[in-house]
Amino acid sequence: MKNFRLQRSGPYLVMAPGIILLLLFSIYPFLFLLKISFQEYSPISLDKPFVGFDNYVRLFSEHHFWNALKITAIFVSSSVILEFALGLGLAVVLNQLGWGQRLYQSAMLLPIAMAPTVVGLMFRFMMNEQYGVLNYFVESLGFSRTAWLSDPVLALPALIFTDVWQWTPFMMIILLAGLKGIPDEPYEAAMIDGASAWQTFIYVTIPQLSRIITIALLLRTIDAFRIYDTIYMMTKGGPINTTSTLSWMVYDNGFKFLEFGYGAAVCVVLLIIIVSLLTFVLKKVDVFEMGGKK
């Protein structure tokens, strides 16, 4: 009887520290965040009155918010799609590579190991209009120098390019792991049925990878929504406000203007967007039922 009880409570005991940590460091901060989003909250002011939905009303009536939402949507969708396409391509190529696979793999992982601030600074220098190495190549190809980061049209693509450079290897490594886990049998069957390489890729590889693809896309999407360090180092939300994303808006209002209440409201809206997106994706693709069990 005692053993049975222990057996039943065992998993809960093992999970307890994790749940306590989650409550302490995630749930409590979230509830606090939610609370202050209804307050006029400045860390240096003793008076922190409740203002109801004022912060949210202000948020939805400000063009900054809609601009930041648009920029975030463009940034997240472009960078994640590009990273996925390139990452998948690289993973397929690497998977078929015989000699030097590990070497290439390790070399390609270097960008992930770098801090986003370092990457941001590095690209800021490389994209400098006057002495940046990028313009050196542009000029040697006969084109004129370009203001990559101070041109309102080019700044966001430059930021997306930087993100793609850093995070494509992350996508690649997850997809490569997925590719390595696909058994040989479906490929043998496809070969016997006379499927072409493209048909095999579309009808065998992609379905087998679908859950891994979903997880990779989810993780990158969440991460892309949070981009801040790179923006700080490269553009600081400018020129004008062409690279001002929602997470930059949180920083601007929260830490630059000390409007914690308003910044918290932006956080809550950002969270709702991400969670809605996740729920939608998870409903469509069941990532937990590995092996196709229903």
Partner: protein
Amino acid sequence: MRKRLTRMSFLLLLCGLLFLSACSSNSSNQPANEGDSNTGTGSETTGSGEQVTLNGVFLGATWGQATQELAKEYEQETGVKVNIELVGRDVIYQKLALSIAGQANYDLFNVDYNWIPEFASTGSLLQLDDLIKEHNIDTSKYLPRALALTQWNGQNGSFGEGGPIYGLPQTIHPHLLWYRSDLFADETIKAEFKAKYGYDLVPPQTMDQFRDAAEFFNGKEYNGEKLYGWAAQATKGFGNVHTWLTFLYSNGADVIDWNNMTSSLSTPEAIEATQTWVDLLQYSPPGINDYTFAEVASDASQGKLAMALHWSWSAFEVDDPATSKTVGKWDFAQTPAMKESVPHLAGWSIVIPTTSKQQEEAFKFMTWLESKENDLRQAQMGGGDPVREESYADPALTDMLIEGTDVKRFRRYEALEEAMKITKARPFFPQEEKWESTVSEYLSAAQFKQMSVEEAMKQADEAVNKMLQR
């Protein structure tokens, strides 16, 4: 059911991770060696006989580095240990706010003066008047406009009107006109200029002269180096606002109608000044709209500019033989006048947060650092420009030469002293930081021609008024 639970747990975990990472940044608000801190009693040791330790946060600029060095001497002299953290501007602001909110153990902050009304209005900064009186500190020795940066009488737009003192100035740097004296003295160039414009080439005193000189030099080759007419910081954030203010003030405009507390950015004077500045950007290097003070100083030292509107303090960079191609070639004058010359004043002060547990010890260090001797020494060590009037006439500085040359190291002081009589600070009111950010965005739109200057100023007015009403 089980599937739904698993899905919910996964979502919860992801949200948790998201917020954990969001909350983890800026969490290191405590001093590096908090364990050293004690509750002070106004002497070198605490009641329990332990050594007094002060914790300060300073800008990672030359004057912050000088402070760090001098703090070591202070410890030798007094036994009081002063830990100085050097960080960036944004980080100081955040640390100050969060340390006040979290009662962190910081005693001194190096602040950009525009934060003083904001933090003073919430009672977060220590008023120093009683301590000044008690310790017989003669504040009349400070440059009046430098001291005024630390005062706030609770009224909006009250720069220079006195009021309680919340800090001591550490360094000031008004805008000066920088010009290449070798170019302006070159006989061939002078003749060429006169032939084109019909008057002698002199360091510009008016904006028209400045425009002519900028146009004349822009694109010219001199000793194999392509020149640009002029440069000044123009990046969004605060760079463009700081340069633009010099134009605006010199055209007799102000940014806010202080009697009615409404924005006054679309007055004819403000629009004219803004248009003049935007038009002049065509004579600046490519990428000027992304220039911070670092790029201006770098271009100046590499011989790419004929003129600059730049901080006085930054002049050390063009006189550094190790990195500059233009050592001793720059000279300094008053910023050109539209109606009159009114340079924008920048400066950094030292304040004590009310949360400091060692306020008197912090005050003693602050006054020691800004004493006559150390005001000079900071300048000699390459720190900021002095804040005491007497320092500007002291031969220890005025006769000092750049090593290995016969060029006076502080030749800018004459112009600087003059500028300190006419310079004007950024608007003095608690929402200044937000105001700057708001205006910066519209200036940026005008710089990039996304809006006409008139439209940008009109929209900036609306945005500022909206902000002021909140």
